[in-house]
């Protein structure tokens, strides 16, 4: 590609690579600063956040140990509930909304159309609109535990998921399903044996989008869950920083680092899928 480019273009490209390398370093600097500070004492973070740890301020992994066991609610419990909520919600969303989307597109009755347009409508509605009433409803129906909150996520996340699945289902030729039909498959068998394998890439995209949403969501679990018993990682971080009294900066930085490490690792491993998933989600506009 570069072989037939003129000498001038090549120089420009080299300069651009240099500029972008610099920019890329600036881009990851915030994370490096958090990492460095998570190894320092609390007072030195507040006073000199951009200094490398010295012999006096270096704490090793002390902040991580304090952070994990800190306070009346241990961090590992928050992490555990975050995982529970994310895994169950995403699994439930994938299974239920793909089935619903398929049914809506195949039967195409008035009721189905109404559901479909309500789903699209729900994507525009800001969470603040339903914030108060949703948390009351969840309380009344006892959906306020990590084991039941996935039902709320299914309800509020259905819009985007149904929309994305429908987009793909419309492109599946009916002939494929009719063949299965001739062989005596009922609707359930046709869906799981014929359509699910075809929709694999859509499942991955939806799973990625919903995981990013549920994992990072703060306000919904904060309002719905019984906070004395259950917290998630974002709620925990908010409590560490936003609570009254002394803020332990060291422990907070360590816990922020604990959130970032899995995100970065997963991103590096499944980068291709993540970028593809995010792109397909963006097309909704």
């Amino acid at each position: 590609m570069t072989s037939h480019l003129s000498r001038g273009t090549r120089t420009v490209n080299t300069v651009l690579t240099v500029i972008f390398s610099f920019l890329a370093i600036v881009w990851i600097l915030p994370i490096v600063i958090v990492l460095v500070n998570s190894l320092k004492s609390s007072s030195s973070i507040a006073l000199t956040p951009f200094q490398l740890p010295t012999a006096d301020t270096f704490m090793g992994f002390q902040n991580y140990v304090t952070g994990i066991n800190n306070g009346n609610y241990p961090f590992y419990m928050s992490a555990f509930y975050s995982v529970v909520i994310t895994v169950f919600s995403v699994a439930l969303i994938l299974l239920c909304t793909s089935m619903a989307a398929w049914y809506i597109n195949r039967v195409d009755s008035l009721f189905c159309k109404v559901i479909y347009y309500l789903c699209i409508f729900s994507m525009v509605v800001p969470f603040q609109m339903v914030m108060f009433t949703l948390s009351k409803t969840a309380d009344n129906l006892k959906l306020n535990t990590p084991w039941t909150i996935p039902i709320i996520y299914l309800g509020f996340g259905a819009g985007l998921a149904v929309f994305l699945f429908s987009g793909f289902i419309k492109s599946i030729p009916l002939e494929v399903e009719q063949a299965a039909d001739m062989d005596g498959c009922n609707a359930l068998q046709t869906f799981f044996l014929v359509d699910v394998p075809i929709m694999k890439s859509t499942y991955i995209s939806v799973a990625i989008l919903q995981t990013m949403w549920v994992w990072n969501d703060y306000l919904l679990p904060y309002l719905v869950l019984d906070r004395t018993k259950y917290m998630t990682i974002p709620i925990h971080i908010q409590f560490l920083q936003g609570s009254f009294g002394r803020v332990d900066y060291g422990a907070t930085m360590a816990m922020i680092m604990m959130c970032l490490i899995p995100i970065v690792v997963i991103y590096i491993i499944c980068q291709k899928h993540i970028i593809k998933g995010v792109l397909s989600g963006a097309v909704k506009g």
């Binding site: 309500l118 969470f127 609109m129 299914l154 900066y249 970032l260």
Partner: protein, 297 residues
């Protein structure tokens, strides 16, 4: 074309198949529809209903008509947060889209290390709002305390630009990905033909590249517009509205009138309805505006 094939095969479905599908309706539809009603439809309708009532708990409600809306519009903090949100949205949408487009433009030129740069720039998008807020609070406070002798919590201007920087860091990578996908659609033959005809780089950009990536521009402005207008987590974590609720955005203002005030919650609900209407208007008019330009080009 697609429509006709769909219709003719749908006609095939109408007879026995459709009837046999109906039997499965509860299984396929019920879980999603039930959850959708609990998680969206019912709270939404109840929200609109409650905006006409005065209440502190749901047990005692008094009908007050449009009183809550009047009070909401008279609330100074609400109007200020509205202006703050509009200013913030305008600045961040412009900056994010320009920078993201520029980066995408360079990265599609095939410079060395494009894939690595793309990976790095996109990464912050995966970090949640609360965590992002506290990362930047630590960094920005460090800079502001040392060089400007103030803090984020003491100066609303620093708070404003802090939020802009934060959102740029989070969203530029995301928009860059969408622009890259759009730029890859620009036909190379057109570019070569234009070069042979002696078109300058600016003319090529304006008459060939921008019209082709117009769909990406629509999507990106839509996403950045709604994301900045609805911003909550980042606002809460970075400034929390300090100083004196001056850096409060709309979503946070609504939250405060529900949960950090002793007065009538109906006002909060009325604000939420106004907020919802504003979001719908912005989304629809923006889509209409850019879509009409797409056709024109």
């Amino acid at each position: 074309m697609k429509k006709t094939t769909k219709r003719s095969s749908a006609a095939v479905m109408n007879r026995s198949q459709r009837r046999s599908m109906r039997a499965f309706a509860p299984l396929f539809l019920l879980p999603t529809v039930a959850a959708f009603c609990i998680g969206f439809v019912w709270p939404f309708l109840q929200g609109i209903y409650l905006s006409f009532f005065r209440f502190k708990t749901l047990k005692f409600t008094t009908f007050v008509g449009f009183d809550n809306y009047e009070k909401a519009l008279e609330d100074e903090t609400f109007l200020r947060s509205f202006l703050f949100t509009v200013a913030f949205t305008l600045v961040s949408v412009t900056v994010i889209n320009l920078v993201a487009f520029a980066i995408a433009f360079v990265l599609t030129k095939g410079i060395k290390g494009s894939t690595v740069f793309r990976t790095v720039f996109f990464m912050p998008n995966l970090i949640g709002g609360i965590v992002l807020g506290y990362i930047w609070k630590m960094i920005l406070d460090g800079v502001i305390i040392r060089f400007l002798g103030s803090t984020l919590a003491l100066n609303a201007t620093y708070g404003f630009w802090g939020l802009v920087i934060l959102l740029c860091w989070q969203q530029i990578g995301y928009m860059m990905i969408i622009y890259i996908a759009g730029l890859q659609n620009v036909p190379t033959e057109y570019l070569e033909a234009a070069k042979i005809d002696g078109a300058g780089s600016f003319q090529i950009l304006r008459h060939i590249i921008i019209p082709t990536v117009m769909p990406s521009i629509t999507i990106c402005t839509f996403l950045t517009l709604t994301n900045s207008f609805k911003l909550f987590d980042q606002n809460l974590a970075l400034t929390g509205g300090a100083p004196f609720r001056q850096t409060e955005m709309l979503a946070l203002n609504i939250y405060q009138s529900f949960y950090n005030s002793v007065s009538n919650m109906g006002i909060g609900q009325a604000k939420a309805v106004i907020f919802f209407v504003a979001v719908v208007i912005i989304a629809l008019s923006q889509l209409y505006f850019t879509r009409s330009r797409e056709v024109q080009e």
